[in-house]
């Protein structure tokens, strides 16, 4: 097990200044996951990124809650750098939603039922 801080340059990963596609998000997720599994910590560097949307963040970081990481462990080992405040707001929304979705079976069950009800209520 190594114990390095791995920097993932988002601009380089997505090939431009917009971090928007779920496919790019998947690539970033796999890198973060691999680094964490090898005992490293990760810094996601958003330098030169001027656009971030939920579709990217759902796959890039939301999925980390699907893995068996302790929330405290993620808080200590995954950091974001050079992220704008309004992008942090989307990140917060995505993480809140992902945490509930992946780690709370009751929430997921209730959500499924609520969605079905939404449909029936039109």
């Amino acid at each position: 097990m190594s114990n390095k801080e791995i920097k993932i340059n988002i601009y380089n990963e997505v090939g431009g200044s917009a971090a928007v596609s779920d496919t790019d998000g998947q690539k970033v997720f796999e890198k973060i996951n691999k680094a964490l599994k090898a005992g490293n910590s990760v810094v996601l560097d958003f330098l030169n990124i001027d656009m971030v949307i939920s579709a990217f963040l759902n796959t890039a970081v939301g999925q980390l809650y699907k893995e068996n990481y302790d929330v405290e462990y993620l808080r200590n080992n995954v950091k974001a750098a050079n992220m704008n405040n309004d992008d942090k707001e989307i990140l917060a929304t995505v993480l809140k939603r992902a945490k509930e979705y992946y780690q709370n079976p009751e929430y997921r069950k209730n959500l499924e039922e609520a969605l079905k009800e939404e449909l029936n209520n039109g």
Binding site: V14, G15, G16, S17, A18, V20, S21, D22, T23, D24, D50, M51, I53, S54, A55, F56, N58, T59, G62, Q63, L64, Y65, V71, L74, R75, V78, K79, A80, N85, D86, K88, E89, I90, L91, A92, T93, V94, L95, R97, A98, Y101, Y102, L111, L115, K116, E118, L119, G122
Partner: protein, 292 residues
């Protein structure tokens, strides 16, 4: 074989015009090995952002169907040359001196970076956008990107068609994003394993917060981002998919109607008010420490 299709007298951002274009889509879809003359003789008014839908419709015809345009009224022809639509069909480009068009473009669905570049070049630096706040521009761009990316994630399509038009007198800007992939109705019916769900009910479900037909991954925030922006801006949003028509107007009132025929894809049409002076500043909700 040769067929003449008489184009409607006016094409507006309305249910009636979408209905006309969907009827044309179905009619052209039935043809094989034919020359089709799209006759614009009666067409005196055309809201040119709908070039995105026209392009998607003409592209979805059979490879052996040869589309030609004829009898354009000068005003209609010029606007379709200014926004680059007609240059895809062998017409020369015309310079848009007053910069009211937002160019017609056909993107590969995976081309998110070129689409962002297009928004930056074609929209955010023109059409009164320079006077808008940076936060407004960013929120608008974010909304368009959410819709664009949704086409790839949910519609599984190859191409996405986009076009816009600015009406400086009314300060209205229309922007249209079209795909010809899996419809919202098809996705929602499959998700609930229920084929009785109508086109409008499916759209009405899909535009709500937290709803997503993507299995095994959290999501459902894309349309919510768009609707929040549109509601704040007092703009409007139209979604057409399959046989469903869904509209949210400036007062947040939702209208739903069904078409008699279906569009094999999805149209998202936004109307943005450009005389909006509101503050789009992000509210800092103690997010500094919130990573995970």
């Amino acid at each position: 074989m040769s067929t003449i299709y008489k184009f409607p007298s006016e094409i507006k951002n309305s249910y009636e015009s979408f209905n006309n274009l969907i009827n044309m889509h179905q009619l052209l879809g039935e043809l094989f090995l034919e020359n089709v003359d799209i006759d614009f003789a009666k067409t005196s008014y055309l809201e040119a952002n709908l070039s995105a839908l026209m392009g998607a419709i003409f592209d979805s015809t059979d490879v052996f169907v040869n589309i030609n345009f004829c009898n354009f009224q000068p005003k209609v022809k010029t606007i379709l040359q200014k926004n680059d639509f007609l240059c895809n069909y062998g017409y020369p480009k015309v310079e848009d001196l007053y910069s009211t068009t937002i160019k017609y473009k056909k993107f590969k669905a995976i081309d998110t970076q070129p689409f962002y570049q297009y928004i930056s070049d074609e929209l955010l630096t023109k059409h009164d956008f320079p006077s808008m706040s940076e936060n407004f521009k960013k929120d608008f761009a974010k909304s368009l990107l959410e819709i664009f990316v949704n086409a790839y994630i949910h519609a599984n399509c190859d191409f996405v068609y986009t076009c816009g038009q600015y009406f400086p007198n009314k300060k209205d800007l229309y922007f249209t994003i079209v795909n010809t992939g899996t419809t919202i109705k098809q996705n929602v019916c499959e998700y609930f394993n229920d084929n009785s769900i109508t086109g409008t009910r499916a759209i009405n479900w899909a535009v709500k917060k937290d709803t997503t037909t993507k299995q095994g991954i959290s999501g459902g925030l894309g349309f919510d981002t768009v609707r929040k922006f549109i509601n704040l801006n007092k703009g409007s949003l139209q979604v057409i998919s399959d046989n469903g028509y869904w509209e949210e107007n400036i007062c947040g009132k939702i209208t739903m109607q069904e078409f008699s025929k279906s569009f094999d894809g999805t149209v998202v049409n936004l109307k943005i008010k450009m005389d909006d002076t509101q503050n789009y500043e992000t509210v800092d909700e103690q997010i500094g420490e919130l990573f995970f």
